[in-house]
Each structure stands twice: as structure tokens, then as C-alpha cells.
Amino acid sequence: VLDVLGQILCWIKQIGAMVLSALVDGVNLVIAGLAAFVQFLIDADPISFPSVPTWPSAMSTAYGWIAWVFPVGVVIDILAFVVVAWLAWQLVALGLRWAKLTSE
């Protein structure tokens, strides 16, 4: 008898899990649809960045020599860091200003 009751309880649990899974599947479909729509908009964009020209091999050699003396890669990393940090701060500052405004 306990086994039968246990099975019934299990079915009830599984029905709940299936309903929840169906909801999650629905959310996933919405996300997938949103992504597909965004991808469609991007693909429909007629304007493209220009292609980057290929450097002559002599320039590549020169870059290697420069990088041997000065860490050019670090400067690029720092540039990326500064840009990201500045953008992040702009977002945070926006939120803080909004919070300050609403508290007054």
C-alpha cells in the first residue's frame, strides 16, 4: 500500500515538474525567438565595417621588434580595461543619480 501511495506521490511530483519544465521551455522559446529576431536585425543591417587590410610582412616583423622592447599588448589590454571601466561607471552613475533623485 505504501508503495502505491509512494507512486501516486511521485506522479504528482512529476506532473509538477513537467508543468514547470513546460513553463521553462516556453521561456526558452521566447529567449530563442528574441535572439533570432535580434540576429535578423543584425543580418539585415546593410552597413558593414570596412575590412581591415593585411599588413605587409615587414610591418609584422616591426611590430614584433617593438613588442620586444615595449609591451604593446599590455597597452592594448589597458586601453580595453579603461574603456570597459568607464562604461561600467557610467552605468553605475546613472543608477546612483536616479536613486538620489527619487530619495529627495
Binding site: 511530483k13 521551455d25 529567449i31 565595417f49 593585411t54 609584422s60 622592447v69 599590455v74 579603461v82 568607464w86
Partner: protein
């Protein structure tokens, strides 16, 4: 009169000799292979095996001929038909090119551009790379080959390079083998040694091109089929003139001779390199593949107890199917593990996943031992959350589609990719300058021109590494200060001049 008779006899003999080889195309008269439609299933399988596994053969003529047939039959898969425009990859101090696909004939030798550096230390993946642009006969490298005029490089999984200086065919292709020789003479690491045509060609197929590697690829990669139909087999046999001995060259003849021997039930076993097990393959499926290649030896199956005891639940071993071959031991060769218990995550696949020179099954009776993932495996461990008797799995939210949005080069969405492309060439690893120069001697001194060099500054590598390290620290300090003070406006320190002693305090 006797002279005339002798001359006539010689002329007749000459005509007879020439007539025996119409068109003087070939001196071969046999064997003649039957059409595929007349072959038995066993014979067709034998031909198919040869075309699919031609790389196990030895000898340039034989591998060249068999590959010719295999390629015509489609046994080399649907590779990229066009060697598309390559994508530049910073490699050492040079820009090299990763080719779209090296699978189809004539392989990769359409592309000879760029340079290679002997100091490359990038990712350990198989990637064809061109060595040298035209007109770089005096290219000098700080290690490895001193002069490369043309050819290609294949980055090896264990470091070093596969290359061909200059490229005249796969017979001249080299590969690395640290500690051995380079071009017949001793050299410092990384060193390289000769590589056979078959080995090189097989390496070529190791790395299918990725779509992202190609600019004008017709297809994103190639894969070898598992079987060939009658039409394919016939096409392959026709490509090596199986029924037309007079049109054969030496590679054709070598290939046809082996196939004819197979069809006649002759020596069917050809030594071959141990193939890598597939990710989802059980050991019995793997053994079937060995049997298909003529191996008849004794198989011993043992439990991979070391992995069972030491593997991580999140490792590759844990997710492998039951009975998966975890390690293969051939004769007296060292065992080749599919999963490495000493990996950072114990049980993950080793790096490289399969050795460049795997053990060879040299005879039909060579014993093989396979360490399998046992049926009593404790992997993967049961999920402690749901309970085995009543699983209630709920799907998880998948943000993958959003993360997978490809902005490509569209404006303005692809701005980050664009700037990455722009800045990429600048972001190269340092390479010591190597140069030479000439000085014109004054005519009054009675001399002509002095040539100096090559001057190689790599003797200062150690110092420059320290200098770059210090510069890196200083640059980062400056960057943090810049962000904090100029961008974020942090000025908690006040005016530093406030602390100067102006003498007002006794």
C-alpha cells in the same frame, strides 16, 4: 647488301619495341582489376578498406597511388574545395595564415604567404601555416630552421613545427621530434625530423577547417566517410587505372598491385598506427574497427581501475559510455590513455588527446589490451538531489541563443570585433630583432663593402623580459590611477602640499 639487311633488321626490331608500348605511356602490363560490379562483397570490402585506410601503407609510390584512388572515390571526405582566403594569425613576430582546408588535392600548396617564427608558443592545435612569402629567401629565424624559402608549417600538438623547406612534395615535409635531429644535423629544441608522405597526409586530415577560419570556404570542414558505394569504388579504381595497365604510372602500379593482392586473398594485413577511439565508442566497436583492418590478435579487456578510483565526477571519463576504451596497450608499447588520471581535472582527456606517433599494430597477431570503463563504474555518480526512484528533472533556462548572437562585421554592432581586428596585428609577442647591414668602405682605403650580420639581439632576451615586466607593472599602476582619479573622480588624498613643513610649527 649485308649492311642493308642488318639495318632493316634493327629498324624492324626498333619498331617492334616501340609498338609494344603504344604511346610509350607505361611499361606496365598487369595486373588488371575486375570491375566492381563483378567483385564479391569481401573483395569490395577489401578495396574499401584500402581506400579508407591508405595512410597505414608505407612507401611514397604506394601511398601516393592509393591516395589518388581514395580521393577520387571520395574516401577523403568532403573537404573544402577552395583554399579560401586565410585568416591572419599573429605568430611570433610574423603574421601567418591558417588555411581553410588542407584536405582536398592538391592539399595546401596553393598558398604560400606569410612567415613563421621558431619561437611560437600558441595553442597546441593542428593548424597548417604557411612559412614564407615569395621573395623571402633570406628569412632568418632565431631558432629552428635558419633559412626557409617556401613551404608550410603545421603546428604540432607537442610543440614545434611541421614544415617543408622548400615545398616540393610531402616527401620533403618535416615534423618535430624534440631531442632528435633537424635536417640531418643536431639542433637545439625544438628539433625536427623527417616525416613520411603518408604521415604528413594523415596529419593534414586531422584538423578540419572551422567556418571561422575561412573567408571564402565552400564548406566548413571535411570528414571521412565510413563506407564507399560501388560507384565510388569504381571511380577510385579508375583513377589508378585499375583496368588499364598501359596508362599507369609508378604510384598507380603500386596501388593496383596491393589491391590485386587483396582481391586474390593474398597477404591482407598491413601494419597500421593505432587509431584513436571515438568519443562515444565502446571497446567492442573499437575492436571491430581493428578487425576490419586485418588484426586477428588476442584481445584482453581489463577494468580501468585507476580511473575508477581517481577520476573527477565532472571529468570526461565520468561522461564516457560504459565499456568505453579508456586506454589501449599494444604489445610492448606504452599504454595510450584516452583519459588522464593525472590531468588538472583527473579523468579529463590528455593533451594532446592522441599521440602524434601512436603505437603501431605491426602484425595480425599483435596482442592488444584495452582498459575499459567497467559496467560496475561509479561514474557518473547518481544525482543526490532528485532521488533515483522518482526523478523530477526540470529543464533549465537557456540563455545560449542570446550569447550566440553573431554581430559579424555589421555596423555598429560589430564594433568590438572590428576593433579587435584592427588592434590584433599590434598585439604580437615580442621577438628579438635580427638584422644585417653593410658599410661602404672609402675607396681610398682600398676596400669595397663590409657586410655585418646577421645581428641577433636574442642574447638580451632575459634582460628585456625583466624590462617588459617592470613596464607592465608601471603601466597598470598608471592605468588604475587614471581610471580612479580622472574618470571616477576619486580625490580623497587632498592637496599633497598641505603636508610640507613651512616652519610654522616649533
Amino acid at each position: 647488301m649485308r649492311r642493308v639487311g642488318l639495318g632493316l633488321a634493327l629498324a624492324i626490331a626498333l619498331v617492334g619495341v616501340v609498338g609494344a608500348f603504344p604511346g610509350s605511356a607505361s611499361a606496365y602490363t598487369g595486373p588488371v582489376l575486375p570491375p566492381v560490379s563483378e567483385m564479391s562483397t569481401v573483395q569490395k570490402t577489401a578495396v574499401q578498406t584500402r581506400f579508407l585506410h591508405w595512410d597505414a601503407l608505407a612507401g611514397d609510390d604506394l601511398t601516393t597511388g592509393m591516395f589518388r584512388g581514395a580521393e577520387a572515390a571520395g574516401a577523403e571526405g568532403a573537404g573544402v574545395g577552395v583554399l579560401g582566403t586565410a585568416v591572419g594569425i599573429p605568430m611570433g613576430s610574423y603574421l601567418v595564415y591558417k588555411l581553410a582546408s588542407p584536405i582536398t588535392s592538391p592539399f595546401i600548396y596553393r598558398k604560400i604567404t606569410g612567415h613563421d617564427s621558431g619561437t611560437y608558443s600558441g595553442p597546441d592545435t593542428y593548424q597548417w601555416r604557411s612559412v614564407c612569402a615569395s621573395g623571402c629567401a633570406t628569412t632568418s629565424l632565431s631558432s629552428g630552421p635558419t633559412t626557409i624559402t617556401s613551404g608550410f608549417v603545421l603546428r604540432g600538438a607537442s610543440g614545434g613545427y611541421f614544415y617543408s623547406p622548400p615545398f616540393t612534395g610531402f616527401a620533403g615535409v618535416m615534423h618535430n621530434a624534440p631531442g632528435t635531429e633537424y635536417n640531418g644535423s643536431t639542433c637545439s629544441s625544438p628539433c625536427i625530423k623527417g616525416r613520411t608522405t603518408a604521415e604528413m597526409r594523415r596529419q593534414v586530415t586531422v584538423q578540419p577547417a572551422q567556418a571561422s577560419d575561412c573567408v571564402s570556404c565552400a564548406q566548413a570542414g571535411g570528414s571521412q566517410p565510413s563506407s564507399l558505394n560501388d560507384t565510388q569504388l569504381q571511380t577510385g579504381l579508375d583513377a589508378i587505372n585499375g583496368a588499364n595497365p598501359g596508362a599507369r604510372d609508378a604510384p598507380d602500379q603500386a596501388a593496383v598491385t596491393v589491391i590485386a593482392d587483396d582481391l586474390a586473398g593474398g597477404s591482407s594485413f598491413v601494419p597500421f598506427a593505432l587509431p584513436q577511439p571515438e568519443a562515444t565508442e565502446t571497446y567492442s566497436q573499437y575492436v571491430q574497427r581493428l578487425r576490419a583492418r586485418g588484426w586477428l590478435g588476442t584481445l584482453t579487456v581489463e577494468s580501468a581501475s585507476a580511473l575508477e578510483a581517481g577520476a573527477d565526477p565532472a571529468s570526461d571519463y565520468a561522461s564516457a559510455p560504459v565499456h568505453a576504451p579508456a586506454g589501449v596497450l599494444v604489445g610492448s608499447f606504452p599504454i595510450v590513455w584516452q583519459f588522464d588520471v593525472s590531468a588538472p581535472t583527473p579523468g579529463d582527456r590528455p593533451d594532446p588527446e592522441w599521440p602524434d606517433n601512436p603505437p603501431r599494430i605491426n602484425g595480425p597477431n599483435t596482442p592488444v589490451t584495452i582498459k575499459e570503463k567497467p559496467p560496475t563504474t561509479v561514474f557518473p555518480p547518481p544525482d543526490p538531489g532528485g532521488g533515483d526512484d522518482c526523478p523530477c528533472d526540470v529543464a533549465s533556462i537557456d540563455f545560449g541563443p542570446l550569447a550566440g548572437i553573431d554581430t559579424g562585421d555589421s555596423f555598429p554592432f560589430g564594433v568590438f570585433g572590428f576593433f579587435s581586428d584592427v588592434l590584433g596585428p599590434f598585439n604580437v609577442s615580442g621577438d628579438a630583432p635580427v638584422f644585417d647591414f653593410t658599410l661602404d668602405c672609402p675607396a681610398l682605403a682600398g676596400c669595397d663593402t663590409y657586410e655585418f650580420g646577421p645581428v641577433d639581439l636574442d642574447v638580451m632576451d632575459g634582460y628585456m623580459t625583466v624590462v617588459r615586466g617592470l613596464l607592465t607593472v608601471l603601466l597598470w599602476i598608471g592605468a588604475v590611477w587614471l581610471v580612479a582619479v580622472k574618470l571616477l573622480g576619486f580625490k580623497a588624498g587632498g592637496d599633497l602640499t598641505d603636508g610640507v613643513d613651512d616652519g610654522s610649527v616649533a
